[in-house]
Amino acid sequence: MSVADYAQRERVQLAGATVVALLIAAAVFTFVFDIALERLLTVGFLTRSLEMATPIALAAIGGLYAEKSGVFNIGLEGFMIFGAFSAAATMYLLGGTSPSQLDVWLAIAIAVLISAILTVFFAVLLIHFKADQIVAGLAVWFLGLGFAPFTAAIIWGSRSSPGLESINSLAFGQSPLVVLTVIVVLASWVFLYRTKYGYWIQAAGENPEALDTAGVDVNRVRYATVIFSGAMAGLGGAVLLAHAGNFVGTGETMVDGRGWIGIVAYLFGNYNPIGAAAAALLFGGLDMLNVQFQTVGIEVSARLVNLLPYAAVIVVLTAWGKTRMPSSVGEPYESED
């Protein structure tokens, strides 16, 4: 068994151990505070955890693809803001303050399109002009924080949109977007590990020269993944909006760090789409568990409990720190021809 496999297995064990630990903690809490466990772990808790995880998982998948191919897209947060805003603006332009469900779906699609178009510029700067990926990505965040609320103010006279429409749930209160995300996660796993394009993406990040000498245009692969990553982050933002039903552009905006957590999620998931989605779910679950604690009146400071996922990331990175990052991340590739 390879080192990577071994670590992979450790990671799975770790995730399992975390879940078990959480359940035990929950059980202890219920005992200490005399709260019935079924009040804590409800179907709604699961639903909300999934909904919470969805935008993070989508952004993580996007970021993962870009990084697998050798480009660090640290601008996920920014693209999510653009995605959320574009979806809100589209919804509003299509249906005013009472858009239909069709408008919601159209808005999501158009938000993805707009994010993808914006990412094309970003990709050109990164790949053609060899921009510093960290700085340019940071800039995208600043741009999102600036221009999305700015444009919102132009459209609505306020940085936040009026209430629009959120997406209707399917049976059992599950959002169709959660289902969509599950499909995206599985499809991106298959695509990455079972199709030739997936091979190319991996090669582009690990050894671009090998891919080049195999006759595949490395930069074309990278353009595709970077644009995909922007589109997915945009989708994540749009999904967030479609769940919330209105855009909030004040403060750190409604995206509120989910893009950053997306990056952490795929690192945590060791660049595996399913691992990334599982990590997103873990974060979402922790967050929602915190809400459950508050609801049932377990007296822990919400502020402190909110820090748990961050602390968990640090502990895990330290104890199982070695994330296998593709070798050529951050290096522009220049074909010799």
Binding site: S2, A4, V190, R194, T195, K196, Y199, W200, Q202, A203, E206, N207, E209, A210, L211, D212, T213, A214, G215, V216, R324, P326, S327, S335, E336, D337
Partner: protein, 525 residues
């Protein structure tokens, strides 16, 4: 092998390739006959790799024409080259380490079914190729490349080219990373390929290998094709003359002074390396003042680890290291520098120099805490600059401008600068790892002469090299390292290259070349 009515597999006509002001290939002609092996010989930097990169589409030639199978071709990318049936095995393998062998072989040419990669079809094809040439590659198709040794990786590269339908194979210094056994099996593979009608270009700077396997040999020097000869019509002396432009004498340098007191003593040293535990297994050695101890061995037998253990770059598991009378086993790298161990590192590009630093700033490397360059943590840049100028002067570093960045210097000049700097430390012990690797002939001689001079001045020197002639030329004694142990210590005067080669690959010798009497394989050096 040559058949006159078949067009040659490859004909390069008047290829010129420039990089800025540098002419890497100057009007080179080259012809590869079908079903033959054609060696391209030349020193490092003579333009061999550039020429082949032009053929493989990695570079566009500025002038000249490529004719493949009688047809002029515009080869603008590896894709074009492959379409024309040209495959290349690079010196640095073009493999994706995290992917499996099978995935690597089919990369870019994956058979697909319903949009997914058809692994079983790929597997069948690859296994077919392996059985045809008796490769063992099919035994580890699902292993990740990073877990294979270099020889196996090379075979994967060859299978990859064959899988892509290469009729013409370019092998860029394929033997550089191989053990002698692996070299042998590579030669066998090349023979098989030739017998199967494929045409091979074999790039090398090793005369014997070229003579041993090739049908034709073309020698490049300074970007120009000096000439093409039939292997059966030439010999080493002629080829060496063509390569370097003059007679080369493999003479040993005489020595006068007798060795003095032990300066460096290593006892029962055990070390782990990147590739696992026990890369160094209980090595004992002693280097005396005024003596050069050479360590010969095929790369990867623990020499690097041993050197790093002595210089303080890698921690030791067990054993002791003494400098003079001082125990230094637990000292940090910096403390060892300060107590007088100089080190010419194996990799001057990444270790010995900071590429983006000027020579002045590079002159401080390793001297950060050494007076007069630094006093109490403060750097005296004018003293450092004087030092840099001294090195340049004394070691004939070209161009002689201390403000130049290290990366602008040629390999030989970089190495001379490092040697100069390390000697400037006024050390008691000098460790020189591959001191002339990738260095031009003129610089090699210069560096060798300096090392000998230092020995005469009483310095204790440890030289590690995989170049046997270098080891033989410099050493007072030669320790042969194999699989982490010293298998023997021999007298360079009394040992032949063949005998050394045998020792390095695990064989043993008659007593007559072994110095003094040895009790067992853990030789006391």
């Amino acid at each position: 092998m040559t058949t006159s009515n078949v067009p040659p597999a490859v004909r390069l006509e008047g290829i010129t390739k420039r990089f800025g002001d540098v002419v890497a290939n100057d009007d080179v002609d080259f012809t590869l006959e079908k079903g033959s092996i054609h060696a391209v010989l030349g020193e490092n930097g003579s333009g061999k790799t550039t020429l082949m990169s032009v053929l493989y589409g990695l570079y566009d030639q500025d002038e000249g024409e490529i004719v493949i199978d009688g047809e002029p071709r515009a080869v603008e990318s590896p894709r074009d080259a492959m379409a024309a049936g040209v495959g290349m095995i690079h010196q640095h393998f073009q493999l994706v380490e995290t992917m499996t062998v099978l995935q690597n072989i089919v990369l870019g040419h994956e058979p697909t079914e319903n949009g997914l990669v058809d692994e079983s079809a790929a597997r069948d094809d690859v296994e077919e190729i392996c059985s045809r040439y008796d490769f063992d590659v099919d035994e580890f198709l699902d292993t990740r490349v990073e877990e294979l040794d270099l020889g196996a990786q090379q075979r994967v590269e060859i299978v990859k080219s064959l899988y892509r339908g290469a009729e013409i194979l370019i092998l860029d210094e394929p033997t550089a990373v191989l053990t002698p056994q692996e070299v042998e099996s590579l030669m066998a593979v090349m023979n098989d390929l030739r017998a199967d009608g494929r045409s091979l270009i074999f790039i090398s700077h090793k005369l014997d290998e070229a003579l041993g396997i090739a049908d034709d040999i073309t020698v490049l020097r300074d970007g120009e094709a000096i000439g093409t000869v039939r292997a059966e019509d030439t010999d080493e002396q002629e080829l060496a003359r063509m390569m370097v432009g003059r007679e080369v004498l493999f003479d040993r340098l005489s020595r006068e002074a007798e060795p003095g007191d032990p300066a460096l003593e290593v006892e029962e040293l055990w070390m782990s390396g990147d590739r696992g535990r026990d890369q160094v297994q209980g090595v004992d050695l002693t280097v005396r003042e005024g003596e050069i101890l050479g360590i010969a061995g095929v790369q990867g037998n623990g020499q690097s680890e041993l050197v790093e253990g002595i210089t303080g770059l890698r921690s030791v598991d067990d054993g002791s290291i003494r400098l003079g009378n001082e125990e230094i086993t637990d000292r940090s790298r910096r403390a060892r520098i300060e107590s007088g161990i100089a080190y010419i590192p194996e990799d001057r590009q990444t270790e010995g120099l900071v590429q983006e630093y000027s020579l002045v700033r590079n002159a401080l490397l390793g001297n950060q805490t050494v007076e007069p360059y630094a006093t109490g943590g403060r750097i005296d840049w004018s003293a450092v600059k004087d030092h840099a100028e001294e090195i340049i002067e004394e070691f004939d570093v070209q161009p002689p401008t201390v403000e130049n960045d290290a990366e602008s210097l040629s390999g030989g000049n970089q190495q001379k600068f490092i040697v100069g700097r390390e000697i400037g430390h006024d050390p008691d012990v000098m460790i020189a790892a591959h001191p002339t690797r990738g260095v031009d002939i003129g610089s090699i001689e210069f560096i060798h002469n300096r090392l000998i001079e230092l020995r005469e001045e009483g310095l204790a020197i440890l030289v590690v090299s995989s170049k046997l002639e270098e080891i033989q030329k410099l050493s007072d004694r030669i320790a042969v390292m194999y699989e982490g142990e010293f298998v023997d210590v021999v007298d360079p005067e009394r040992v032949t290259e063949e005998e050394l080669g045998l020792l390095m690959t695990g064989g043993s010798l008659e007593d007559d070349v072994t110095e003094e009497t040895e009790t067992d394989t853990e030789a006391q050096a």
